[in-house]
């Protein structure tokens, strides 16, 4: 597998394996970074190789604010990682850095990413002057691109809209088009920034299935940003929680397929992650007061 190794710094530092948050969670699911976990979707063994993404000591500042603060990240080949975090915690910033789009990000150590990276942006970012199909196949060179684009559009439920302009699509349709664009190029590393945020429940389920299917077929490494904890637990091998510019939680999800929220262990993961996000899922939904009193310490 072709990889780009980019030297980040004059200060040499060897890549380190990331460890979890400061305090291990007592009684929760095992924290298990980097270790291969069984395939959630197909149940088959995953061909986890060496890390396909390896970043160490990533730092990104905007003005005075440090958004990524010596962040460590490593994703194995074929691993499905979900990334959670508060709004504004730096998830998109991290994705842009990993995709190599951030020309100002700095760090020490190295950043290794594969060559074929796909990024589904948080905003769908369709080129307004290209029709839908052209947007989806943008940059695809091989013959049959159009046919594959058509198929991808069909898969995301946009068959027949090939010639629509982006502005003629609803929010969710645009999001699905952007997803189709990411998937159609069969990346080695798929970065997806809340790709299902604007979708209704049914469409979301279909998109999950689509992603799972594609994942089963090509085994890309995936880094999926989501705000939906259920989604994270359902899809990912490993869930990271970003906080204060670092990976504050690194939770390996060890559940058999098919994963269902009715599984009590699913709920356990769910609660662990919600707690990590500052939400105490029970009792019920907290009011403003209680929400503010909730600290970020899951041990509370």
């Amino acid at each position: 597998m072709a990889t780009d190794t980019r030297e980040l710094s004059v200060e040499p530092g060897e890549p380190t394996t990331i460890t979890g948050g400061p305090t291990p969670i007592a009684g929760g699911p095992s924290q298990d970074a980097g270790r291969p976990s069984p395939d959630a979707a197909s149940g088959g063994a995953r061909p986890h190789g060496g890390p396909v993404v390896r970043a160490s000591r990533l730092v990104r500042r905007f003005g005075g604010r440090t958004v990524l603060d010596r962040l460590e990240l490593s994703i194995a080949a074929g691993e499905f990682v979900a990334l959670l975090g508060r709004s504004g915690s730096g998830k998109s910033t991290l994705l842009r850095a990993v995709a190599g789009l951030d020309h100002e990000v700095a760090g020490s150590g190295e950043l290794r990413v594969p060559e074929r990276v796909s990024l589904a942006f948080q905003d769908s970012r369709l080129l307004p002057w290209l029709r839908l199909l052209d947007n989806v196949v943008l940059g695809l060179k091989r013959p049959g691109a159009a046919a594959r684009g058509r198929k991808a559009l069909d898969e995301v439920g946009l068959a027949g809209r090939e010639r629509a302009w982006p502005h003629e699509l609803s929010g969710g349709e645009q999001q699905r088009a952007a997803l189709a664009r990411s998937l159609v190029r069969e990346p080695e590393l798929l970065l997806a920034d809340e790709p299902f945020g604007a979708l209704d429940a049914l469409t979301r389920i279909r998109m999950h299935d689509l992603l799972r299917e594609l994942y089963a077929r090509h085994r890309p490494a995936v880094l999926l940003v989501t705000h939906d904890v259920d989604e994270a637990v359902e899809l990912a091998d490993r869930v990271l929680v970003l906080e204060d510019g670092r990976v504050a939680r690194d939770v390996a999800v060890d559940l058999p397929a098919p994963r269902t929220p009715r599984d009590p262990r699913f709920q356990e993961y769910r609660e662990l992650l919600l707690a990590a996000l500052g939400v105490s899922p029970r009792p019920a939904l907290p009011s403003v007061r209680t929400a503010e009193e909730t600290t970020d310490d899951p041990a509370q």
Partner: protein, 264 residues
């Protein structure tokens, strides 16, 4: 059976069909009214009737058509080269910092230099034949196209550039899929200015070693105090200006049909 409901619009609303012609028509009407109402001294500006009859004479003699055709050829050639050069330079300057530093400042200097002052140099290099004429026209066109295209190009939303990087576009594909369509709105403004510039340059170049052309015709008319012919020339310029602009706009509307703007 059905009717639009709307909040108070801030945009301009639906455009009138053939709306743009209203202004020029109104001008014509004012001119006619002033001329026939006796408010306009015919020695200052001839009446529309007089100008039309002069135009008819010129057409009957074949002068108007011949001159127009010859000028059109020069203008089109100049336009062609000018648009090509302007666009090429804009792309080169917009996409590389080296290009920018070599080209952009030079173009700013160039465009500040009056054509009249450059003429002697161009004559020295290119002589007084057709090449010189076409080059002078092309230079004027190139500047208009360059300035607008370069600005549009450098003004392309950086998010689209990111997208292009992420999907791994080659430089050529980046140009084709992102830069060119993204800069098209600006290019069209440049083109519209360029078309007029090509036509205006005729007045200058057709004073030099020309025996035909609309610019020559106007120049001669000035020499011989044929004010009617001058006004015919102005009318031709006006009509051409309006028509060519309408044409470019029509193309623009088709090409930029993806835009959702205040105007539509």
């Amino acid at each position: 059976m059905s009717q639009a409901i709307a909040r108070r619009r801030l945009g301009p609303g639906r455009s009138y069909p053939y709306g743009r012609i209203a202004g020029p028509l109104l001008l014509l009407a004012v001119w006619s009214a002033a001329a026939y109402g006796g408010l306009l001294d015919p020695r200052v500006l001839s009446s529309p009737g007089k100008v039309l009859s002069t135009a008819a004479d010129l057409i009957a003699q074949g002068r108007l058509q011949t001159n127009l055709l010859i000028s059109l050829r020069r203008a089109l050639l100049g336009l062609l080269f000018g648009v090509g050069a302007g666009t090429g330079l804009a792309v080169a300057a917009g996409l590389s910092r080296l290009g920018e530093s070599l080209i952009d400042g030079t173009m700013q200097v160039k465009r500040a230099i009056p054509a009249l002052a450059l003429l002697p140099l161009l004559i020295l290099w290119l002589g007084i034949g057709e090449e010189m004429k076409v080059v002078v026209i092309a230079l004027g066109v190139a500047v208009s196209v360059y300035v607008n295209t370069y600005a549009a190009l450098t003004g392309i939303d950086s998010r689209y550039v990111e997208l292009a990087e992420v999907v791994g576009l080659s430089r050529a594909a980046f140009l084709r899929k992102v830069v060119v369509p993204g800069a098209l709105p600006g290019f069209f403004i440049g083109l519209r200015l360029g078309v007029t510039a090509s036509w205006l340059a005729l007045i200058v170049v057709e004073q030099i070693n020309a025996t035909s052309g609309i610019g020559y015709m106007m120049f001669q008319a000035q020499q011989y105090a044929q004010s009617d012919v001058i006004v015919v020339g102005l009318l031709v310029y006006g009509i051409f200006g309006f028509a060519s602009d309408a044409l470019v706009r029509a193309v623009e509307r088709r090409v930029l049909s993806w835009r959702r703007t205040l105007a539509n």
